[in-house]
């Protein structure tokens, strides 16, 4: 008499989670995506305020209210 073996687990397995991406595989994503994402935050948070990449103030003026309401220093 044996208990029915190999019952497919219906619920998620209770094992300890294992990494899904190797650190080596992660590195290029951190570098390239990290730079692009930092640039996005920079344009919303600081462009044409303390520092400026584009001449003029159109980027600053466009995202101006977002900058204030997200809590970045503005004017």
């Amino acid at each position: 008499m044996s208990t029915p073996a190999a019952v497919e687990p219906r619920t998620a397995p209770t094992t300890v989670p294992v990494p899904v991406v190797s650190l080596r595989g992660l590195l290029p994503y951190w570098i390239f995506a990290g730079i692009v994402l930092m640039l996005a935050i920079y344009f919303v948070g600081a462009e044409e305020g303390a520092t400026s990449v584009f001449a003029g103030s159109n980027v600053h003026e466009l995202v101006h209210d977002a900058r204030h309401l997200l809590g970045f220093p503005c004017h």
């Binding site: 989670p17 899904v20 935050i41 003026e61 466009l62 220093p73 004017h75």
Partner: protein
């Protein structure tokens, strides 16, 4: 897998950004308008006659709608992307939390380090409050404080991990929180004060604006935790984004 996580993180950021924008527009714009009215009233008193302001290229109504939306959503998408990168780095490595718990923990720590720790020293100000002359140093100190808070959060997590096997998870969490609070307290004392609010500015407008700022960020981070929590769980289990739990048994296509 990383590409899937990154796309889903940014998608969750997009949705969270739309929700945060709605709040910012409905709750945040009234105090912004009030602050600008205060500024214009003060400017009208001191203005030299004939020195008319040149018309801005971007109107106020564009700033309050599309501009606000673009800014909040762009920021939120970027935070969602970083959330995915951090998730991939710590999941299965730093703790024993499953996907949703890991996402929730990252978002809670991120909100405290990126939003709460800086704003308790340098609270958000509505337009018209600050001086244009000090924007360089205000921006600098603000980002320095964000960096210190992120470093303090990493230090706190490390301490918690080291202590957990010896003194238990609850005590280790308390010790980690204590370390974080002490480090942030030292940073707050060490960094220079920036009081930009001029005498006579209506305090209620300031209060409403700062609450709107906190609400915008709270909605953004909590919606991100919810959305990416589900999306990351699905990714880890190899499910497509819109499939229900268990659907992976039928469709066992490995994820990218």
């Amino acid at each position: 897998m990383m590409r899937t996580l990154l796309v889903r993180g940014m998608l969750a950021g997009l949705l969270a950004g739309v929700l945060a924008f709605l709040w910012a527009h409905l709750v945040g714009e009234p105090p912004v308008r009030a602050a600008i009215a205060v500024e214009e009233a003060a400017a009208a008193k001191t203005a030299v006659t004939g020195a008319a302001e040149e018309a801005p290229a971007i109107t106020r109504s564009t700033q309050e709608t599309w501009g606000l939306g673009v800014g909040v959503v762009l920021f939120s998408v970027a935070i969602g992307g970083f959330l995915a990168l951090v998730f991939a780095m710590v999941y299965g490595r730093v703790g024993v939390l499953r996907a949703r718990g890991t996402v929730l923990a990252i978002c809670a720590i991120g909100f405290v380090a990126i939003v709460l720790a800086p704003l308790t020293k340098y609270p958000a100000n509505p337009p018209a409050v600050g001086s244009g002359d000090t924007i360089d140093e205000r921006t600098g100190f603000f980002f320095v404080l964000v960096m210190i808070a992120l470093a303090a959060a990493v230090a706190a997590v490390r301490l918690g991990r080291q202590l957990a096997p010896r003194i238990g998870a609850g005590n280790a969490l308390a010790a980690a929180v204590l370390l974080f609070v002490v480090l942030i307290g030292v940073a707050h004392v060490a960094l220079p004060a920036q009081n930009e609010v001029r005498a006579g500015f209506p305090p209620q407008v300031l209060w409403d604006f700062r609450l709107a700022n906190l609400g915008t960020q709270a909605i953004l981070w909590s919606a991100l935790a919810f959305g990416f929590g589900l999306a990351a769980e699905a990714a880890v289990e190899g499910r497509p984004l819109l499939a229900r739990r268990g659907a992976g048994e039928r469709a066992t296509v490995p994820s990218r």
